[in-house]
């Protein structure tokens, strides 16, 4: 029997602050309908919201994807640039390269990546300058 797989994806535009939270809210709604345990759901909610915001604030546009099997949920954030110069520095709490505009809106606390990492069971980040960044987060359901 083929393993059940559910896929969901949302394209997120750079700088579109008015859409902030739409993709993660939709993911959240679906996970609630799927009956995901509420503590896991809360962690996915936080991580997907941070990922979505990062795409809006830092990237040149990208995609937020969810892949689900009965045992695991994967959140994947994939953008088309600009890429992160120093990934280990970016993972430090309080480090941020957010623009003046983003900071004026209350973003740029330097907690985005650390929050994603903290809430996910597994966390992988690949980034190349001029190419883009891909983040993969895993959440165990069982």
């Amino acid at each position: 029997m083929q393993e059940q797989l559910l896929k969901d994806s949302y394209s997120v535009c750079a700088g579109e602050y008015q859409t902030a939270g739409d993709a993660s809210a939709s993911i959240k709604r679906k996970l609630k309908q799927l009956g995901i345990d509420s503590t896991i759901l809360r962690r996915i909610a936080v991580a997907s919201y941070e990922a979505e915001l990062n795409l809006i604030i830092h990237s040149q546009g990208g995609e937020l994807m969810m892949e689900m099997t009965p045992v695991q949920i994967k959140l994947i954030s994939k953008d088309v640039g600009p890429g992160i110069a120093d990934v280990s520095q970016a993972l430090k709490e309080g480090f941020s390269t957010a623009s003046e505009e983003a900071r004026d809106l209350g973003f740029g606390a330097g907690m985005g990546l650390p929050n994603m990492k903290r809430n996910a069971d597994s966390f992988d980040i690949q980034s190349e300058l001029g190419v883009g960044t891909t983040i993969e987060m895993g959440f165990q359901l069982k």
Binding site: G35, T39, Y49
Partner: protein, 434 residues
């Protein structure tokens, strides 16, 4: 799950015309229009009363107890919600209202505002011993918001304050004091809440956080308004009956509870759609500094309840005027510490999530249904017109997957199908003629 099915919010079938006004406004998507009239899905309804407010045909109403119901008891205590004070403009003294309640048939009155004082002190004690992972504490005062959280934000249930509601605490204290003073048996005393909303009525008949309510019933504010107003005219008769602090009275308005409980790092939000928006942010961990959250389903807070008489803004300023004219003694000082041990203020039952939004209890089956739902959504027009009887195209797809309706209930799809059929008939007619 064995859920008691009592709901205060009801439908008058004869008045319902089957329009989409309530359908579109229900925050838990608990209404469907089928067979030309609305139906309320009991398991989803949180008794917020939005549908009562938006129905132009007055087909939605709140079931409360008639005033005559107090006659079941030899002794009757009235427990007016603080929002009752907002129903009368230029009120010099709360005792006028309290006196009026005696005149219309009660033996005693006890301000729920005083219950709010006791609850304020209890919550503050609780918060003193809390660590940041408890934050934010979420108020349990609005029963519709508590039910909303059960349905839409189950992961926030652990943040709900586990102290009984002011009306429950007030009833507990009032009954005990009355029995002691008059040497009567508790079962001969009826405690009746004077309610601004349907949600409180449901909370009494079908409590969530405790096994049984301390109250014997709820009487709608709007029902007694006229009678009460006409019994408030004789000023000379009034005796001083008001005992609550200005803070307790302030619970009538949005922000009043937050002001009493935690003036700093708190947030008060009114109007159920606004509350949903902020709960989403709490869920996303966006409000990290927040210690106390007060959410009221009604605009303006309890003064905006669907069973009130006065416009919520007028009522809000009337309450504000009453507060400004009173001494500012905080409940921490006004409420005796002994109350916290003498009475059981603790909620005695955990609030459980309501899993009605779940597509299926089995995750594999739920995933299959979700997939099917998504493919149906893609084939729908996305107008969210409500003509099918479901509030949005998404909910319609969900209803199909759950087996409650079928695709042809969508008038746009039906129209397309009819067009194709008509074309085929024309073609058929042409071929047979030849």
């Amino acid at each position: 799950m064995n859920e008691s099915r009592f709901h205060s919010v009801r439908l008058d079938k004869d008045k319902c015309v089957g329009c989409t006004n309530c359908l579109k406004r229900c925050p838990t998507e608990a209404i469907r229009v089928r067979g030309g009239r609305a139906h309320i899905i009991d398991e989803r309804c949180i008794d917020c009363g939005e549908c009562i407010r938006v129905c132009d045909h007055h087909a939605k109403y709140a079931q409360t107890d008639p005033l005559s119901d107090i006659e079941r008891f030899k002794y009757r205590i009235a427990l007016p919600a603080p929002s009752l004070y907002g129903q009368f403009k230029h009120l010099a003294n709360r005792s006028l209202i309290l006196d009026g309640l005696i005149k219309i048939g009660f033996n005693e009155v006890f301000e729920v505002a005083e219950g709010a004082d006791i609850v304020t002190r209890a919550i503050r004690e609780r918060m003193r011993n809390a660590t940041p992972e408890h934050y934010p504490f979420i108020s349990s005062a609005c029963p519709a918001i508590v039910r909303l959280i059960r349905v839409r934000f189950p992961e926030l249930i652990s943040h709900i304050v586990d102290i009984r509601q002011p009306m429950e605490v007030a009833a507990m204290v009032a009954r005990r004091e009355f029995c002691k003073k008059n040497e009567v048996a508790p079962e001969n005393v009826g405690c009746f809440f004077i309610t601004p909303c349907a949600a409180k009525m449901t909370a009494i008949k079908n409590p969530l956080a405790q096994s049984k309510s301390e109250l014997d019933g709820a009487i709608s504010m709007i029902e007694i308004y006229g009678l009460l107003a006409s019994n408030m005219k004789n000023f000379s008769l009034h005796t001083e009956r008001a005992t609550a602090t200005a803070y307790g009275v302030g619970w009538a308005n949005s922000g009043g509870e937050a002001m009493a409980v935690s003036p700093e790092h708190s947030m008060a939000v009114d109007g159920i759609e606004n509350v949903i928006r902020v709960l989403e942010e709490i869920e996303n961990n966006k409000l990290r500094d927040l210690v106390f959250f007060e959410g009221a389903a009604c605009t303006g807070g309890c003064v905006g309840g669907p069973l009130t008489f006065e416009n919520c803004y007028v009522a809000k300023s009337a309450v504000q005027a009453l507060i400004s004219g009173s001494d500012r003694v905080h409940p921490d000082e006004a409420v005796k510490a002994s109350y916290l041990t003498k009475y059981n203020l603790q909620a005695d039952r955990p609030i459980t999530p309501n899993s009605i939004m779940r597509l299926d209890d089995d995750i594999v089956e739920a995933m299959r249904k979700m997939e099917e739902m998504e493919s149906i959504v893609r084939s729908l027009p996305g107008y969210d017109c409500g003509s099918c009887g479901s509030p949005t195209c998404r909910t319609f797809a969900e209803d199909i997957v759950r087996g409650y309706c079928n695709k042809m209930d969508c008038i746009h799809i039906l129209k397309d199908q009819l067009k194709i059929m008509a074309q085929k008939m024309v073609e058929l007619a042409k071929t047979t003629r030849e």
